[in-house]
Subunit: 172 residues, 2 copies
DNA sequence: TGTTGACTAGTCAAGATTGACTACTTGATG
DNA sequence: CATCAAGTAGTCAATCTTGACTAGTCAACA
């Protein structure tokens, strides 16, 4: 239900129509989700059916009409419930990069090393980008940016360790 | 294509029929994927259609017949390509727990703190479990276990930081 | 020998997700 | 004014993913 929580949370902040919600998510919350537009529309519709949000058509000048959404009391209750549940629980993280690592022995050590260095360079570039992000230091979003930066540093560091071990002769 | 890489890699190790492949993934690779049985069957079928693997029915005594899979040369080539691609690239990690964090301001600080402490306790329990895992120190799987343990420690540490900041009065 | 519980092997319908697409508006430029 | 790019708003078919289910085997025990 993380995606529902996200959408309800964004709606609560006042971004009210599908397009605007998506804009916000893509621009300001890209660090914590990869929710895409059609998925968002799908979930909004589902939540409307569930009574968590109310849907209104709004005509704005000559523009195509927008569906504007508003949280209902039931939606707010659901938001609070989901938020508490999310904060209290931890969620397994799976790292797609680990799958390759599981079979790294298949390649000659020197090739593996150069591929992993390439991965590490990508991570470093990403980190540099995040460090140059300014703005939206508002509340919780700041936490997420900080979390991502620390995570990237962690991964860069971990790869150093992996490469060191690949260099050492197999010992038991 | 991470899941394909995973399946090809497992097949290469000699786990040849659907059920056995799933057993292995659930038992020994639970730390790096949440691939489920029906998904695995689906992907095996797709890869068979693509010519990456060959499918044979095998009758074993009175047992229901098994579909036994074997990598083809094209499959091996695909494996090598996917492996190199996976090792050289980095993949954005999204943390579901961050979504709650984004809205943590909604709750009173003391409640947020106690919820996050609950989350942290869960992480600590998980870490303790991993630390007691013995066996299958074979090659790459060892890396993954180690990565997970370090990641959990990282998260536990990060939550300490978050809780400290929630306690401090908002400063600018 | 009948029954029970665990193991083996896989299927299926339902739901989630997304790449690619449509269609309209607005503003700027030549 | 015609055209072109960018912005706005959303849809759809195809694909991916999985919870729940079927159906057989085997071993052990009463």
């Amino acid at each position: 239900m993380h995606r529902e929580l996200l959408l309800l949370g964004v709606l609560r902040m006042g971004h009210l129509h599908g397009y605007g919600i998506n804009e916000f998510i893509q621009r300001d919350m890209a660090f914590c989700t990869d929710l895409k537009k059609p998925t968002a529309y799908h979930l909004l519709q589902k939540m409307a059916e569930a009574g968590w949000i109310q849907e209104n058509e709004v005509q704005d000048g000559n523009r195509p009409p927008r569906r504007v959404y508003q949280i209902t009391p039931e939606g707010e209750a659901a938001f609070q419930r989901l938020l508490r549940e999310n904060l209290a629980n931890h969620f397994n993280a799976y790292f797609d990069g680990d799958i390759g690592l599981a079979f790294v022995d298949v390649l000659p050590a020197d090739e593996a090393l150069s591929l992993l260095r390439e991965r590490q360079d990508g991570l470093k570039a990403e980190l540099t980008m995040l460090e140059n992000v300014r703005g939206h230091t508002s509340g919780g979003l700041q936490f997420i940016l900080e979390h991502q930066k620390r995570y990237l540093a962690f991964e860069i560091n971990w790869l150093d360790e992996v490469m060191k071990r690949l260099l050492q002769p197999r010992e038991e």
